[in-house]
Amino acid sequence: MLGYYIDLAIRSLKRSPGLTLLMILTVGFGVAASMVTYSVFRAVSGDPIPWKSAQLYVPQIEMWGPKGHGGPGDNGDPPDAMDYTDAIALMRDHRARYQSAMYMITPSVVPAEAGKHPINVEGHAVFNEFFPMTDAPFKYGSGWSASDDDQRAAVAVISEKLNQKLFGGANSVGKVVDIDGKDYRVVGVLNKWEPQPRFYDVSNTGGFTTNADDVFIPFMRAIDVDMSNDGNTNCAETPAQSGFKGLQLSSCIWISYMVQLDSAAQAKAYKDYLDGYAREQQRSGRFSWPPNNRLRDLHAWLDAEHVVPSDTEVSLLVAIGLLLVCLVNTAGLLLAKFLRRSNEIGVRRAIGAPRSAIYAQFLVEAGIVGLSGGVLGLLLTGVGIHGVSWVLPKDIANLAHLDVQLLLLTLIVAVVSTMLAGIYPTYRASRVQPAWQLKSN
């Protein structure tokens, strides 16, 4: 029967090619616009580490006090990074399963071959637990040990890209690399690892970045050799002493912090610990205000930092609005098309077709329009995704891509929404009174 309905539908669609084309174009454009904006939205709102984002938390401590609040857009949140004092105290207490303070560095790396120029690279100074916490993928070797951190050892983890540049891609574990004029032993080489957004240090990267981290060295080692912070520095007051040492003694914030807590109970305990820490600071006179801390999981943190640009969300909403208009339009056209065939319906009903048969016939017709619209929409989506790199900033546009999932979604959205639009016209068609139609002829 389905074959017959498909045949009927195609005949009917061929009979009014203008109207059919109009419906297919409508569905195609509506679906494509929403799919293109959705692909961008999906790219920027995706979970960079879905298997454990619920266990990763970012603690925030109020160390500037309530007087620091009150500017435009202030929601009473504590600062989104840490000063040195608190970061080190939290590291020392070591209350989470894994934890790491981190800051951004841009050292220069000198290739061993004579005559090669030094290259400036980006990286982070982190603690050893950073690697198991973020599940950083290793190609060779591994991260360093806790005792390396304690001894402030000159060890480094480098990216595959830097390994390619310095060692031609060979296993370089145990080899020596010159970072800022000092020798570091390579303990690990990472596989290509460019999580988007850069979840472990949103406050310095803003989330999406086209740059990648090429070196990681032990945090305390970086402090020891005066490798200064090259990320954001936020000060509520001018440091009393100048230089990198002065920054460490100041209340300026420049350190990102992340912890892994495996259960809700652990998270609760850690929040209690943070509040206890703040109360202790209050008792000792460093804070003159009650605790005002936050412990957000990764999702909430990315949300609070507005990592997804609001433009992307607005575009998606407007595009969904366009899809809605397209559906209303399709519903109107299908209605016109179906009711024009009242005679045909009347004849079919009179010779015994039940209402369900009319339903099936017209929904099949709507489905075929939807499928054709979906195929057109797929083509337009492909074109659109190439087009967004021309319209949107590179760091975001480059993330949008067409994959099997989006492909299927495009077709499903097209067919399902066209059939939804076809429900009312089909209902009307099934209500056609056979006697009426036969009489007027």
């Binding site: 800022d180 230089g243 969300e313 407007v318 208009v325 002829n441």
Partner: protein, 408 residues
């Protein structure tokens, strides 16, 4: 034109009528807001940066091999001399950043050294005595920096300037009632004296979150001796491309210990502006494209449905013609019918547009929709409706009276 017969007819086509009205309403709601977003973004694009943008060249120079502050100071001084001697260069200075660059430093500025209370934000530009002339900034009051006032700042060193120059917007904000020149303000623990006030000068950022203070800029008399240096070069009129072509090779020839990115190491101010407003322009294009598609689809939908109605009513039209109705009567019947549906649609759509805007304001810090956009949207949709219905209505008016005698 009698409205009652039209309304009576529409009652037989409730579903079609409602669908067209609904489509017009939705289109109006979305197009109004999209037009508003476009206008806002285009307004951003056309906001003056305050600097004389023609003949301005920016060089992003990264120092290789981690030189210390003294080494940077001497290399920077020799670079400035080299650039000044380059044919076609009118003026040059070294800085940390410039308007619209997207990167920079923010300080709190206020009337007391206590920075733990909330202060106003200001963008910080490290400049020397050549900055005003190079950027083409107009000094409104006071004086420029003198060469002997220019200090040096290295990474994390104390920034406690004795003299500063601020923009008119910031001066007016800090001292609404009096001239700011000669007054002391606090950027650090020590007071800084405002020695000059310049006209407009944008901050490095164009984000809407910083729009409230986007002209609060402060010039500090410092050479910034850090890992990178921005050179701002004013060329002789018409020499921009020529200098842009030669500047990189000239600098490398003078000293190889640097990195000037081949991709965006040398940019004209026009490039900087284009990049800064990339997302605003993108959003405007996207909203424009979506609006256009939506209006086209709505127009096409009206053509389609009206054509169907005309086809369905050929016999009735023939009867009316036979009874003496002119072609004009038939034409105006369909135009009026469409107008009635359109008016119903835009009334609902106007309410939806305002509702959608309120929701967007609540969710995304959007501004309040100006009524002009709703009015413009209503006009666009009504004209679109009349335009779309014209062709089928003309076809209807051509239906001959003899149609009344035909059975189908």
């Amino acid at each position: 034109m009698q409205i009652r017969p039209i309304l009576a007819t529409l009652r037989y086509h409730k579903a079609g009528t409602l669908l067209i009205a609904l489509q017009i309403a939705l289109t109006l709601a979305i197009v109004c807001n999209a037009l508003f977003i476009i206008h806002q973004r285009l307004g951003q694009l056309s906001r003056p940066s305050g600097v004389d943008e023609s003949d301005l060249l920016l060089v992003h120079n990264q120092w290789a091999g981690k030189p210390d502050a003294d080494e940077v100071a001497s290399m920077m001084a020799s670079d400035l001399a080299t650039l000044r001697n380059l044919p076609g260069v009118a003026n040059v200075y070294a800085t940390n950043t410039y308007p619209l660059s997207g990167e920079g430093t923010v300080f709190g500025i206020g009337h007391s050294p206590d920075k733990k209370t909330y202060t106003d934000s200001t963008a910080i530009y490290f400049v020397d005595d050549n900055a005003l002339a190079t950027l083409g900034l107009r000094l409104i009051a006071g004086r420029n920096f003198r060469p002997d006032e220019i200090g040096a700042s290295s990474k994390h060193s104390k920034i406690e300037p004795d003299e500063i120059i601020i923009t008119q917007a910031l001066a007016h904000h800090l001292f609404p009632d009096a001239s700011a020149v000669g007054k002391a303000v606090y950027l650090s623990r020590k007071p800084s004296i405002i020695i000059g006030v310049v006209g407009r000068m944008r901050t490095p950022w164009v984000d809407s979150s910083m729009a409230k203070w986007d002209e609060y800029s402060t010039l500090l008399p410092y050479r910034r001796l850090e890992g990178y240096t921005e050179y701002v070069i004013r060329t002789q009129p018409g020499q921009l491309d020529d200098v842009a072509r030669r500047v990189k090779a000239t600098l490398y020839a003078a000293n190889r210990m640097r990195v000037i990115s081949p991709k965006n190491g040398v940019r004209t101010f026009a490039d900087v502006g284009a990049q800064a407003y990339n997302s605003d322009r993108g959003m405007a294009i996207l909203m424009g494209a979506i609006s256009l598609i939506m209006l086209t689809i709505t127009g096409a939908g009206i053509v389609g449905l009206t054509s169907f109605w005309v086809g369905q009513r050929r016999k009735q039209i023939g009867v009316r013609r036979a009874l003496g109705a002119t072609q004009r009567d038939i034409l105006s019947y369909f135009l009026t019918e469409n107008l009635l549906i359109g008016v119903a649609g835009v009334i609902v759509g106007g309410v939806l547009a305002i509702g959608l805007n309120l929701w967007l304001m609540n969710q995304f810090e959007m501004e309040k929709l100006a009524m002009g956009y709703v009015v413009a949207g209503v006009a666009i949709l009504l004209v679109l409706g009349q335009g779309a219905v014209l062709a089928p209505a003309l076809r209807a008016s051509k239906v001959p009276p003899v149609e009344a005698t035909r059975s189908v």
